[in-house]
């Protein structure tokens, strides 16, 4: 049982949770994720850790409402318990001083990007961060990102905040004007696909953090498999970070939709129970 200590809505469908998990708070590193199960009948879903406080024994997760489990989680309040939280899982981000790092985050992908931005900054890199969202209300963690970035460029699809355009436009702007040694992209699969295509044009080594469907998260089931460089790899133990230029994003996008029908039906049923 892990208690929710704090809950804060970033927008209608995106919420930050601070959760008691002392062992995980102590051992987690940038790039790691946890698997949670809300209750005894719940499913296991992976969520990347945004930050932790070792002293308080807590971890922070940023969750977007996408289906039944996340909707249920967003309806939970501080003081309530999550039945199971296990982690930290996956390999940690390899952080070193490479020069200039271009970090690009889309949607809730910005949350797991935060500790990576912090890590690269502390390792002595120049960090330029591009934050992308559909609209102004969905831009998250901007202030925290500014604290660890040399520059933050905000992009919104509708131009309601920052610059108008997709994440790739912001990335191009940086790449055009200065030498970028490494790029890290985290966000929806479709965003990572196009971000990877952008950096590939300029031969910039690029890391993407993948959030696939998982069950156990410890290398046992193979639900999370993706093709990287033509080979099948497991996101939970070989990843979650991979060379973005080698990832078959189309296959990943398709696999992410494995339960589209089942999920939609389950969500309908869920909505009826809460109404």
């Amino acid at each position: 049982m892990n208690k929710i200590v704090e809950k804060e809505f970033f927008s209608e469908n995106v919420c930050k949770f601070i959760i008691e998990a002392p062992d995980i708070a102590k051992s987690r590193k940038p790039g790691n994720f946890v698997i949670i199960r809300l209750d005894e009948k719940g499913e296991r879903i992976p969520l990347t850790i945004a930050s932790s406080d070792e002293g308080k024994g807590t971890i922070t997760l940023v969750v977007q409402r996408v289906g039944v489990t996340t909707a249920k989680l967003l309806s939970m309040e501080a003081g309530e318990n999550i039945h199971d939280v296990v982690g930290p899982l996956g390999k940690a981000t390899h952080i070193e001083n490479v020069g200039t790092v271009l970090c690009a985050g889309g949607g809730v992908g910005v949350a797991p990007l935060l500790p990576i931005v912090e890590g690269f900054k502390k390792a002595g890199n120049k960090v330029v961060t591009v934050l992308a969202a559909r609209t102004k209300d969905l831009v998250i963690l901007e202030e925290q990102m500014r604290a660890f970035s040399d520059e933050v460029i905000v992009m919104t699809d509708d131009g309601s905040y920052g610059k108008k355009g997709l994440v790739t436009a912001g990335m191009e702007e940086v790449i055009q004007r200065e030498k970028v040694n490494l790029s890290v992209v985290i966000g929806p699969a479709i965003m990572m696909k196009f971000a990877a295509l952008t950096t590939q044009k300029y031969n910039i080594p690029t890391i993407a953090s993948l959030n696939t469907i998982m069950v156990d998260g410890t290398g046992m089931c193979g639900a999370c498999r993706v093709s990287v460089g033509g080979k099948t790899r497991f996101v939970c133990i070989d990843g979650p970070e991979f060379d973005a230029h080698q990832v078959n994003f189309d296959e990943m996008l398709q696999r992410l939709g494995s339960y589209k029908k089942e999920e939609a039906e389950a969500y309908e049923r869920y909505l009826k129970t809460v109404q």
Partner: protein, 495 residues
């Protein structure tokens, strides 16, 4: 070994055993026919998740127990990986002391109700039974009797807790709560250690819970055996991944003085053929875990599962049988087992093959998949198969399957389960860089003590064997517990 022979002899010469032996002539005993295990009707059971084998009744168990000759040289025991005193427990049944029979089982076996159900007795104890070896008759139904005694105890509510040596407050850690870990923790608790089992999943039991379906091994049966371990003082920590949540070094700092690694088989194997990542192609681990551990077939649970009208399961082992029989229960109109060799070479238990056939599973032996195709949504809808024939024997002694040229053809399928084996779980080896590993990714151990290249770390089960049975894993766990005991006693002496 001499000590064991002495011990068995002494036990056998107990007056109650003598008396029983004399109560019936050997000829009368051998003239009895083996009692057939009652089973649920095949048609009915292929639509439910209830146990297929129903267990012997008291009357049946009594008759069967009379068949055992209580041999002076009980060769059956040599076939048991955990060394159960088989004649003794069977004679306890004959004496109608069923609870006493369960106590005998628990002397050496932490999970008798599990083993009575899933052990391949036909290649172990029963293969070494006097009936099989000398009389060329069907062996005493040792497994069915084991299950009877264990079930009798569970249903009686008078569950015995094995005797425990005086607690020595030495902390030991068991990593993984599958059969190897549970067997090790049972013995370590008996020796008096302060045992904590660390489990990565949210439930205790490992493969017994996520892998083996309820129709072969109900979860309730496992839970009762786990409860017995709790009563012996074993502590369990779920949601704890050693090597991630805390390192082995962290645990050493917390005072753990020895470790048993029973982290099991990990990574599912795939064939590496085109289309294998299409939607609707599962590894057997994923398919069975969703259904067994996550209860995906029950609409009250949140975990989704894809169902198929025509399901192909690739492989010929017990996991393949579990998967294909599960697919039938999940509503498949056709559940097809695709295996590249012939039925004779199948590693699955004969009983599983028989049960599968009774339930209407189609066997497509001497066939191998070459490629999978999908619809616009990416869901598998067809597979290309190749006909195989048997060539010369390979390293395993089985005849090697060879493709028949020009024999390819397609069949429509909408769900595929790949059950061709697993590779050892890489989590622990990754977390312990100094650990000596084999080229197959298994932990290298001393075969007698199960000690690894790291002195305080012992290992057993699939992480050492690569892929084996519940009972072999349990045998490893027991051996490792003995090895750890010796190691720790010497360590304590030298303090």
């Amino acid at each position: 070994m001499e000590n064991i022979a002495e011990y068995l002899k002494e036990e056998r010469s107990q007056p109650w055993r003598d008396e029983l032996r004399k109560s019936m002539k050997a000829k009368e005993r051998t003239s009895l026919e083996r009692i057939h295990m009652p089973e649920q009707d095949p048609e009915e059971r292929s639509h439910n998740y209830l146990e297929v084998n129903l267990g012997l009744t008291e009357e049946q168990a009594l008759v069967e127990s009379h068949r055992c000759l209580d041999c002076p040289d009980p060769t059956c025991i040599t076939g048991c990986p955990v060394g159960i005193n088989i004649p003794k427990f069977i004679k306890k049944i004959e004496a109608k002391d069923y609870l006493g029979a369960a106590v005998v089982l628990k002397e050496t076996n932490a999970l008798p109700a599990v083993c009575g159900r899933v052990c391949p007795q036909e290649v172990q104890c029963e293969a070494n039974c006097f009936y099989t070896v000398k009389l060329k008759k069907t062996p005493v139904a040792i497994g069915n009797l084991e299950r009877f005694a264990a079930d009798y105890e569970r249903n009686s509510g008078k569950i015995s807790v094995p005797e425990i040596s005086e607690q020595n407050s030495i902390k030991v850690a068991v990593i993984g709560s599958g059969p190897a870990g549970l067997a090790a923790s049972g013995d370590l608790a008996k020796f008096g250690y302060d045992v904590t089992v660390f489990e990565a999943l949210h439930e205790i039991g490992g493969v017994l819970k996520y892998g083996i379906p309820e129709y072969r091994l109900p979860n309730e049966v496992i839970d009762v055996e786990i409860e017995s371990l709790r009563k012996m003082g074993v502590k369990f920590r779920t949601n704890f991944v050693v090597g991630k949540t805390a390192s082995v070094d962290d645990l050493r700092k917390e005072g753990f003085e020895a470790f048993f690694v029973g982290s099991g088989a990990g990574l599912p194997r795939f064939m590496g053929i085109p289309g294998e990542n299409h939607i609707g192609i599962y590894s057997s681990n994923e398919y069975l875990t969703r259904i067994n551990l996550m209860h995906a077939a029950d609409p009250d649970y949140d975990t989704p599962i894809l169902r198929g009208k025509t399901v192909a399961v690739i492989g010929g082992g017990n996991t393949a049988m579990d998967s294909v029989r599960t697919a039938k229960r999940m509503g498949a109109e056709r559940a097809i087992l695709v295996y590249r060799r012939s039925e004779k070479e199948m590693p699955a238990r004969i009983e599983e093959v028989k049960h599968a056939k009774e339930e209407g599973i189609e066997f497509l032996t001497l066939h191998n998949p070459l490629e999978y195709f999908a619809d616009e949504q990416g869901r598998v809808n067809r597979m290309k198969l190749q006909v195989m024939e048997l060539g010369e024997p390979d390293a395993s002694g089985r005849r090697r399957p060879v493709p028949v040229k020009g024999s390819e053809f397609d069949i429509d399928v909408d769900l595929v389960v790949v059950a061709i084996g697993v590779s050892p779980n890489p989590l622990i080896p990754h977390a312990l860089p100094g650990l000596e590993m084999s080229k197959w990714g298994t932990i290298v151990v001393n075969k007698d003590t199960m000690q690894s290249s790291i002195p305080d770390l012992f290992a057993g089960g699939d992480i050492v064997r690569g892929g084996a049975t519940v009972i072999l894993a349990m045998g490893d766990g027991r051996k490792a517990a003995a090895g750890m005991h010796k190691y720790l006693q010497e360590k304590v002496k030298s303090r």
